[in-house]
Amino acid sequence: MYSFAPLIVLFPLLGFLINGFFGRKIKNETLVGSIGTLAVASSFVVALLIFVEMVGSPVEERKHIVTLFQWIAAGSFSVNVAFQVDQLSILMTLIVTGVGSLIHLYSIGYMHGDAGFWRFFTYLNLFIFAMLNLVLADNYLLMFLGWEGVGLCSYLLIGFWYDRNFEKGTTGDAAKKAFIVNRIGDFGFLLAMFLIFNTFGSLTYESVFAQAAGFSPGVSVMFWITLLMFVGATGKSAQIPLYVWLPDAMAGPTPVSALIHAATMVTAGIYMAARSSILFSLAPATMEIVAVVGLLTAFFAGTIGLVQNDIKKVLAYSTVSQLGYMFLAVGVGAFTAGLFHVMTHAFFKALLFLGSGAVIHAMHDEQDIQKMGGLQKYMPWTFRTFVIGSFAISGFPLLSGFFSKDEILWKSFADGAPWMWVIAALAAGVTAFYMFRLVSLTFLGKERFDHHHVHPHEAPKTMLIPLLILALFSIIGGYVGIPHVLGGHNYFEEFLEPVFAGANAKMMLPMHDSAALELGLMAVSVAVGLLGMFAGWKIFTEKPEIAENTAKKFSGLHKLLWNKYFVDEAYDAVIVNPIKQTSDKFLWKIFDVKIIDNTLNFSAKFVEATSNILRRIQTGVVQSYAVIFVAGILFILGYLIVW
């Protein structure tokens, strides 16, 4: 089955080409939607078959490299279009195509009647194609191609409704912000690639990692490589300081938020770090930076989520915060824990986003949760699935999020530091609180919307089915990785661990077998979560005045959170405006107008003048052509003889 791996990438490409070239002419929404959905679903089936074969084969035979063709070869530099199918890449492929096909299906209902229906599915398929290249590539260059490709698709889809307004500008502004911030990160990745090639003379994983195994931890070049990679990761995976684009990315249609800005693309940074685990393991300093940045992101993004009123904004900050958890795991060397959370998060965050989409759909594009309430009555199934998702993300015991988050918390304590655990556990409480605030304000309590204009209704079947399936996985998705301390068996870790064998050997993490401590910490974090959930529910269904009073009492803090720590404003003041000002006052009005334009005008005049002179040579008279010819002969023969 492994040799069929290229098909996984090919199907979405086909879907993209068909819908891209003929979508406008097909006109039939069902057909366009089915082509798009089937393309991704077929990839999922192939990936699943490969996965089944992989599980059935011995551990040492699980990695295969399928070469499609040689891409570029010049001198010592050679890169193939080749796919590395192993435990890590197949896991990511399953997530991308599995969650992806559900979201495609959902989009058929959600995008119904949109003028750009075919365009939407074209972009979605292109995105899946790029994302699969990213995760399946066997070298950094192809990964970079996918990396740039998902960035492009993200840009196209955030600005999908390019004629709509979004906050203070248009969706186009949000799309540009995402693209530019991502580009900053991409530049880091690019530099990392140059350094890798410079150090190892290759960009292929096999060769780079094999050589890296000969290094010892702490070499400075490894620090720079991994740090630059991490800069790339902060861009794509929305970490401090480059997270600012993700909340604005909510300008796109909701399925896009679910697919790209929650479940798949934003995990690219985690994937890259996990894939390069051996390089990171050689740079303990970077690992520490990664862990701290992840932890801070998890906490600060979570606190911003506490006060936001836009249903998608809350989820967006929640995503940033959850991604922070994943980086925390990577930073403390718990790669499998990070990926475990990637998987469970994909389930419940896709579920939550799709649920919010159903709500927005039902409320006629209203996104303000202060203008909702009581929707439980009108949308029972959306409500149920949404609550399941909320329980899962809050780490309610025995749901998927519990297992993955708890593993990260434990690892942050055991392999990181106790203070890390404290902040992470606090952030978990914050998460539970804002999620149940969201549930309460949206579905419970008084109906605060205008009944004359808004008639909420349950979502159509194509939207409900994906919700139900995702809800199911949000419940059971965690059972592949039950911690030993609870008497389970962590199949997930066992499956992935061989990929990280090289890194683990370098890190030599201490062994922990203090079951009591692990259980105790688990109990505390669960208690914090439950407290958050309860408070969120109780305050916002029954005593909203508490929230208002608190907000008034700590109006400074509230204002700080409401304005997202003024980070956007700070960036505007420190980076964006100075750049704009310099561009306007200096680069444009002085450098461009005076220097560049004058140089150009001069050179244009020069070229014009010279071509006017030279044109006289091109007289159209054959004799004069022969004269030039003879001059050429004299030069060549003269040079050859005299030299």
């Binding site: 010049a74 279009v81 071509s611 022969a626 010819f629 060549i636 050859l640």
Partner: protein, 475 residues
Amino acid sequence: MEFFSPTDLLGSSPILALGLFSLIALLVNAFLKNSAGMVFYVSAVGIFVAIGCSIYTFPMNATAFSDMLLVGGYASFFSVLFLVIALFSMFIAKPYLEREQYHYGEYYVLILLATIGMVMLASSADLITAFLGIEMMSVSFYVLAGYFRGKLSSNESALKYFLLGAFATGFLLYGIALIYGTTGTTNLLRIVTMYPQPFNDPLHIIGWGLILIGFGFKVAAVPFHMWVPDVYEGAPTPVTAFMSTGGKAAAFSVFLMTFSVPMSMRDERLMTVLAVLAAASMLLGNWFGLSQTNLKRMLAYSSIAHAGYMIIGIASATPMGQQGIAFYLVSYALTNLGAFGIIAMMEKENGGNLNYEDYAGLGKRKPALAALLAMFMFSLTGIPPFAGFIGKYYLFASAVQSHMTWLAIFGVITSLFSTYYYLRIIVYMYFKEATNHEEIKLPGLTFATVILCGAGIVLFGIVPSLIFDLMKSIF
């Protein structure tokens, strides 16, 4: 003594097939009235048969007729390229000539005859066969350039081409004579064994210099390029398409093969002369391209510049350079055929509709056509993922490999010039309002050819190994 062996027959089978079918075509043309359509089909069949023969002989890697002809490998690779170019140019020509009411059978016969010359060029293992091939091709081109008998510009084009071409041929022949005089052979395989003594002989190196002049004229390198703009502009558009792709590719195939002999010695003098020619062609071609308003003329100057890029590959004298040229020729042929195909479709009687302004608003009027032309322009500029990028990359890399980094930098800078006039057409197509609202007819045959060319440059741009894998067995 036998005059020829089965290998000789098999080895020359593409040439024989083309010769046979051109005779049939000639007879059909002579004895049947209104037979142009018929001649077209006969010629197309002939080309397919020749393609079959070339592919069949590809694995042979031998010589035929006492080392006069190369068989298989190099010869087959280029023969297939020329044959495909000939076929595509015929597809472009048929609707065009019908529209211009100049549709006669002899057009296709001349194409076949020129193609015989080209195949001979790629197969030549001897300077004599090379000379025969060049003449066979050139004489057909002279006639083709003046194919529009009634048009002054076409006649002028043919005459200029002929006069200067005859002039250049003289130098080529003189060069061959000097090589023969200093080594006692004209066979490329044997000149090698005569090294290195004759190289110290000034007459020998002058011989190579003179041959270089002859080839320089055929590939349109500065300063032997003066004919190009006038001839390209005056000749019927499908002929220009054929000359600028097939003619150039054939000239480069023999240039590359012949100069692999002296360049294998990495003679500093020849390398410098070639590098200077390359730099001058890139500079002047692109420079003059900037001020053109007529698309055919612009592509003529572009063709001079591209000759410069490819000469880098010969000057660098590395396998990478040679492979780069072969790849570049494929991509350049597809790109130019596509671009000229579009120009042929857009053209109006008496050379109308050939200026940049005439393409204004094409993006809205004919989106598919505009998108294809934009692709061709991007490929000529050398922007990925189109084939033009890979070709340029290899050529510039070969210069760096041969310690001629200055040449690579020079190439990159002059490429930068070229973006101005290539992208200018895109600006016209997409950012200017249409002034002309006459209906544009897209003949199916030409349009399909253009689409094939477009698909080709995308395919080879993304999967260059399709061609490079073939070349591993050639170079």
